[in-house]
């Protein structure tokens, strides 16, 4: 018996897909530069079926790649050669809503926005709001510890998950909750990128919807003025619901795409949202506006539709950039906020060096940058050049005390960058954690944590003949 025939024999008709055509829609995730077709795709519709898939895959020692909506941006859900994709998009039941305790229990395939829609009638919502929230699943959010525009004030996924249920590769059911006595197992599962288990149920925290929200838009004649305003706002004790920044190229792309009325003469744009009860918001609004003395334009949303329109520009920044370039590559480094301007300068110099345009949008409040490197995959060598440019950006993020990924995860994409972020001893611990849950390394193997061998090779590459790549570029 082969693996695929076992899958077909044991699962209801239509849930197992094999062959090049049928599996094509699953060959990549949101990072479409990397593609690989799996052996089979299975779309179970209940827990027993998931267990069956795991049992069969374990028996055949076949790797399993768990998949939510496939919107990930680091190749986390990209199939591996000879693997089975375990797609959870059919598990979309909201099991229960407890409006008193402000929690909801949902299946892993429930879309992020669907939770907020379901509890809207109770004046509640699920706070973490990745820009992909119409499509991405809660299982994928937990596996990536997804963030969003509002996580400076409301937290990332890890702070908004009460409990999860998980299956280990050998089909054992584990549950982890914030009430557990002991170490932080629940936190460990957040951001584990499908390497430790299959998340089968999530209990999310619900947040009361703020009474009002107002958005301040400010234009600046330099990025450093904008970055300085960010630091001032926070130093003065205001925690905005969202604090986003865009550079000139991103402003231009968004303006021509969504027409939110952004100032085209600005080098940097700040969007600062304040929410809560009316008095509090009014007070903070005054405080923020006072701190924006260096701004060349300031506009405050007067109506809800105006607020949403101003956000629309930011939220459509990715597709907007997609319109002005054949392809783009989205980076996700995070840096201490005091280095925002410096890092932006560095990114500009790398853009010139590589001759690649880079638009920058970032969650300025938490120092999370999304440089969008524009390239054309049709041009030979351009993807490679783009990857090198991206790696140089990430290296610089680490040099100033930041990290290679703030919310998109490592996946397959940032394996090399992980060698910059962590030393051999830490990487060994990561491999041991993986082995503790999945000794045969069948769940998403090879992702998220680079092999020590890979890092050693890379180290040799990087200091080739004792020379750093691009010695002419100033290093921090």
């Amino acid at each position: 018996m082969s693996l695929t025939s076992e899958l077909i024999r044991n699962l209801p008709k239509g849930l197992v897909m094999v062959g090049s055509e049928a599996t094509r829609p699953f060959e990549c995730d949101g990072l479409s530069a990397y593609k690989q077709k799996p052996l089979a795709v299975v779309l179970p519709s209940n827990l027993e079926q998931i267990k069956k898939v795991l049992e069969i895959c374990q028996h055949f020692k076949t790797p399993v790649v768990t998949r939510g909506a496939g919107t990930g941006l680091s190749g986390g859900a990209m199939p591996l050669e000879g693997s089975v994709v375990l797609g959870l998009s059919k598990l979309t039941r909201i099991i229960s809503i407890d409006k008193e305790r402000q929690v909801a229990v949902v299946e892993p395939g429930v879309r992020n926005l669907a939770i907020s829609e379901a509890v809207d009638q109770f004046g509640l919502y699920y706070a973490p709001d990745p820009s992909s929230q119409i499509a991405c699943t809660i299982g994928g959010n937990v596996a990536e510890n997804a963030g969003g525009v509002h996580c400076l004030k409301y937290g990332l996924t890890v702070q908004n998950v009460e409990a999860i249920k998980m299956l280990t590769i050998d089909g054992k059911e584990l549950s982890f909750s914030r009430q557990d006595d002991g170490i932080g197992m629940l936190a460990l599962m957040n951001g584990s990128e499908g390497l430790l288990g299959v998340i089968t149920e999530v209990t999310v925290k619900l947040t009361s919807k703020p009474k009002i929200a107002r958005l301040v838009m400010a234009g600046f004649s330099s990025v450093s003025d904008g970055a300085h305003a960010v630091a001032e706002i926070i130093k003065h004790g205001v925690i905005p619901a969202g604090l986003e920044m865009m550079d000139k190229l991103a402003i231009e792309a968004s303006e021509s795409f969504a027409k939110p009325g952004y100032p085209l003469d600005a080098e940097a744009l700040l969007l600062c949202e304040l929410d809560g009860v009316e008095d509090e918001v009014e007070e903070e609004l005054k405080q923020v506006v006072d701190l924006l003395s260096a701004a060349t334009t300031v506009k405050i949303s007067e109506t809800e539709s105006e607020r949403l329109l101003l956000w629309k520009g930011r939220k459509s920044a990715f597709p907007a950039v997609g319109r002005i370039s054949a392809d783009y590559y989205c980076m996700d480094g995070t840096v201490p906020k005091r280095y925002l301007a410096l890092v932006l300068e560095k990114i500009n110099s790398l853009s010139k060096y590589y001759n690649l345009r880079i638009a920058n949008v970032f969650h300025a409040g938490d120092g999370n940058l999304h440089p969008l490197i524009m390239y054309d995959a049709g041009v030979d060598g351009e993807l490679e050049k783009t990857e090198n440019c991206g790696n140089d950006i990430l290296k610089f993020c680490v040099e100033v005390g930041g990290t290679i990924t703030g919310e998109h995860g490592v996946g397959v994409e940032k394996l090399d960058a992980m060698c910059i972020q962590y030393g051999e001893d830490e990487l060994k611990v990561f491999h041991q954690i993986k082995a503790a849950f999945d000794p045969d390394s069948l769940l998403n193997p090879g992702k998220a944590v680079p092999s020590l061998h890979r890092c050693a090779e890379l180290g040799r590459l990087h200091v080739h003949n004792g020379e750093l790549p691009f010695p002419e570029l100033e290093r921090f």
């Binding site: 702070q159 932080g184 004790g237 925690i239 990290t403 919310e407 960058a417 962590y422 998220a448």
Partner: protein, 187 residues
């Protein structure tokens, strides 16, 4: 004064050690962290502070209040050290943990997480070890998210009581202990 090297040496000797943070306990078999204290780094606009593990809560509170900032978690006894709180708390505390420096049971100095609010590179070991009660590793430095005073107050409520976990869950905890302290140094 304890230095990292001395702490590493002590652990490498392989004798059973109990981690404490109390000046009156300074005998064989104890690793007293009370002298390993102080602020490593603090920029108010980053909303991040990095502390040596022996730093007392009351000292941290005093430093933060100079900038109208505060610790966003419940802490009744301000005589405790941040390392002690780290070792005995749950998610209400780990929600604010950004990074940790530890010495494992083999005397190796390791760093997990960092000093930025968003970081998903590698498994979240800095939150995993919260609540490890000194049995998995010696915590030497902790980086925390902090908040303006008026916002922090919302998070300073007493945590709910904890529930016992399943034996399968405990088996996994044991496996994880093996990773950090394979020789069983920390008791």
């Amino acid at each position: 004064m304890n230095t990292i090297e001395r702490l590493q040496q002590k652990i490498k000797q392989g004798d059973k050690l109990q981690i404490v943070c109390n000046d009156s306990v300074d005998k064989q078999g104890f690793l007293n962290m009370s002298a390993y204290c102080g602020v490593v780094e603090y920029y108010p606009e980053e909303l991040v502070i990095t502390l040596k593990a022996g730093t007392k809560i009351k000292e941290i509170v005093a430093i933060l209040s100079e900038n109208n900032q505060a610790l966003p978690f419940y802490c009744q006894n301000q005589e405790k050290s941040i390392g002690g709180i780290y070792a005995t708390s749950g998610p209400e505390f780990s929600d604010n943990v950004l990074g940790v420096q530890i010495i494992n049971g083999e005397g190796k100095l390791l760093n997990f997480g960092g000093q930025v609010i968003k970081n998903v590179a590698g498994y979240d070991v800095s939150r995993l070890l919260v609540g490890s009660k000194g049995h998995l590793a010696l915590v030497t430095e902790v980086s925390l998210k902090i908040l303006p005073q008026r916002t922090a107050e919302r998070y300073q409520t007493e945590p709910k009581p904890k529930n016992k976990v399943s034996s399968l869950h405990l088996d996994f905890e044991k496996k994880l202990k093996q990773i950090f302290d394979p020789l069983g140094v920390f008791i």
